[in-house]
Amino acid sequence: MRTSIHRSRRLGALAAVAALTTGLLTGCANDSGGKSDTSDGGGKGKTTITLGLFGTMGFKEAGLYTDYEKLHPDVTIKENVIEKNENYYPALVNHLTTNSGLQDVQAVEVGNIAEVVQTQAAKLEDLSKVTGVDKSNWLGWKWQQATTKDGQTVGLGTDIGPMAICYRKDLFKAAGLPADRDQVSKLWAGDWSKLVATGEQYKKKAPSGTTFMDSPGGLLNAILSSQSQKFYDSSGKVIYKTNPAVKNAFDLTAKAAKDGLVQSQPQFQPGWDQLISNSKFASVACPPWMLGYIKGKSKADSAGQWDVAQAPQAGNWGGTFLTVPKSGKHVTEAEKFVTWLTAPAQQAKLFAVQGSFPSAPSAYTLSQVTGAKNEMTGDAPIGTIFAQAAKSIPLQPIGPKDQIIQQGLTDNGVILVTKGKSAADAWDTATKTIDNNLEK
């Protein structure tokens, strides 16, 4: 008896050790702690395509994986999600430079796509050559963003972020402004300084404690993304300091901040979330996904209070690309899958469920887009409104360090004006920071 107890104990220990070890090994091999991989013809001859994603991209939630698995019974789809892009992206760069640990499909955020195109194109498949990929499906600028100078397209666009201005009807009314979306759009049509002027008007009769817009960073970002040139010119030279469009955007935002037209909290921080839930600002520059964010942070009584007006000039905020690394395990399968996943019909479905706006213009006429409604905006036909914005987004050259420059202008620049610094001082601090960060 004793020996058998001993043996069973030892067996138990062995099993535990074995389980732990395999757990560790597969954990390492899979890199983001997914379940162990049954690919490579193991099991029933199924191919497992893995996706590396960040944040909530919603493919799974929209049921697109199950759709594809039904169409292709020999394929299983698995995603590995890292919550924040600022954690996801450095890891992706490390994996690409060492050619290891990569998933079959890797998502890249629009803020990083220029750097990926310029530095990592050799490690990625040229997706323009894949059968079924039709360049004309995508908005021209979206396609261009993931294409190298010699014509290699490393990523297929999933969604974009056409920007409009979302505003609170009740607060606008209370401040004596029109609440109808067409009239509101007319207030500032074509000119960002008219938007700021509307803010001055709002301030005169504003409900106490509220401001016209949410944050200096949001306003600056909106103005900048609607310019034909931002931080880089088309040859790839950094021009942010000499580009009058950037300086004008900065000064206009600084003026709005100085006059108290914006709140002083940086976006997406706990303090800013509090502002949403307490209804402390009347408008916000807003791509479709922002409505989802607002919904998540609002109290129940603000449902239906929002509406969407056109921005003075349309710009783009956000959007993602899917790339296929050459060192992936199932390159051809992954290419086929990505082609299907980014086709107009699938993009429309993703919008209907998840609010990620299609980067395929032919999807804009599909009923899933034209009939889209949102709880925060009531009956507003958001699909049509955002589609209109999407069509007038300028083809703006994006550069590898766009994010660093933008972050400098926002977090080390205009935010300082709300703390009482002069616009000129804030510009100095921002440019000094940015230049130091750009220097190799």
Partner: protein, 335 residues
């Protein structure tokens, strides 16, 4: 049961089985013994090296190699996006540090945050240790509680502190409001932000140091206190004239460890402003050297620059170490 022929008693010689063999057997035995002894000696000689080797192999792989590689990278212009593509830059990455306002700003912040976190931390630790050294009920409980902040992860702790130090909805400003205190912007003003970061450090390490002091205090011979008491010294005099001098080596040790910890301060300021992350506030008001290094390397992806900063920090630490050593020797000689 011996069924095989050779296992049966061998018919050797005239006198019987066993003794005739003895010569041959002892020869083999001696050889075997010699072999064993040689093996044993080899064992004695080399095994310790085998036993310590895991550490040194790991150190080579994860300590020495990165150190040398970083040194090599610091002499090049190299980006994280293409770490194999190095361009020789000589000492450029080092010489530019002299004109780098951000580096010196970070160095200054590291120093000031280091001082306003280390000094109160060690003073409070000493006080707490002194109290714990009295006879207390449930003293183990209090000692464990002391160590609890140290066991908490920085990330979790910092998140709580961020909420406490919030400008508009923070608990501390709310409390200050009742005593007529101003509306302090804990994140964006220089000194408040540095004090806030220091408070996280103080909270985390005070108990740890207190336990070290407590251990040292309990090693102080009781008769010293008795004779001091006979001489008419009160509690405070005993503390200053018996406890403190006896604790001098321990205090030096905690000073050195805290200094090293302070000069590498990273997690607390990083978490304190999740939005700006590595830039340490809108005006870099609480960016430490560790944070600056991280910003250059991982946010801006300038591997060469970051390596040079790392090595400069290393050299600064060595200088601090030497200063510490000199001071401690002086103190020991005078003591």
């Amino acid at each position: 049961m011996a069924t095989r022929h050779d296992t049966a008693a061998p018919p050797v010689g005239e006198g019987g089985a066993a003794p005739a063999h003895s010569g041959a057997v002892s020869g083999a035995d001696a050889r075997r013994r010699a072999r064993l002894s040689r093996r044993w000696q080899r064992d004695i000689r080399w095994s310790p090296y085998a036993f310590v080797s895991p550490f040194f192999l790991l150190f080579l792989a994860f300590g020495l190699f990165p150190l040398i590689y970083t040194g090599w990278a610091s002499l090049h212009t190299v980006e994280l996006t293409a770490p194999t593509d190095m361009q020789w830059a000589g000492l450029h990455n080092y010489t530019r540090i002299f004109d780098d306002d951000f580096f010196w700003n970070a160095a200054k912040n590291t120093l000031t945050i280091g001082i306003i976190s280390t000094v109160p931390q060690l003073a409070m630790a000493m006080g707490l240790a002194h109290i714990l050294n009295y006879k207390l009920r449930a003293s183990t409980f209090f000692r464990v509680v002391m160590l609890a902040p140290y066991a908490t992860s920085i990330a979790a702790a910092s998140l709580v502190f961020v909420l406490l130090f919030g400008r508009d909805y923070g608990v501390i400003n709310w409390a200050l409001h009742f005593v007529g205190g101003g509306h302090i912007d804990w994140q964006n003003d220089k000194w408040p932000s540095q004090i806030a970061v220091s408070s996280i450090v103080v909270w985390r390490w005070t108990g740890y140091n207190a336990l070290i002091y407590l251990a040292a205090m309990q090693a102080v011979p009781q008769d010293l206190y008795e004779s001091a008491a006979l001489d008419g010294a009160n509690r405070w005099q005993q503390f200053f004239h018996v406890t403190l001098p006896q604790l001098r080596p321990t205090i030096l040790f905690t000073c050195v460890v805290s200094t090293i910890g302070a000069s590498q301060l990273f997690g607390e300021p990083l978490m304190f402003d999740a939005n700006k992350g590595a830039s340490g506030g809108a005006e870099h008001q609480f960016q430490t050297l560790g944070l600056y290094l991280y910003e250059q390397g991982w946010v801006n992806q300038h591997l060469g620059r970051a390596s040079a900063i790392a090595w400069t920090m290393f050299l600064i630490l060595i200088v601090i170490g030497i200063v510490n050593y000199v001071i401690s020797r002086r103190l020991r000689e005078s003591g």
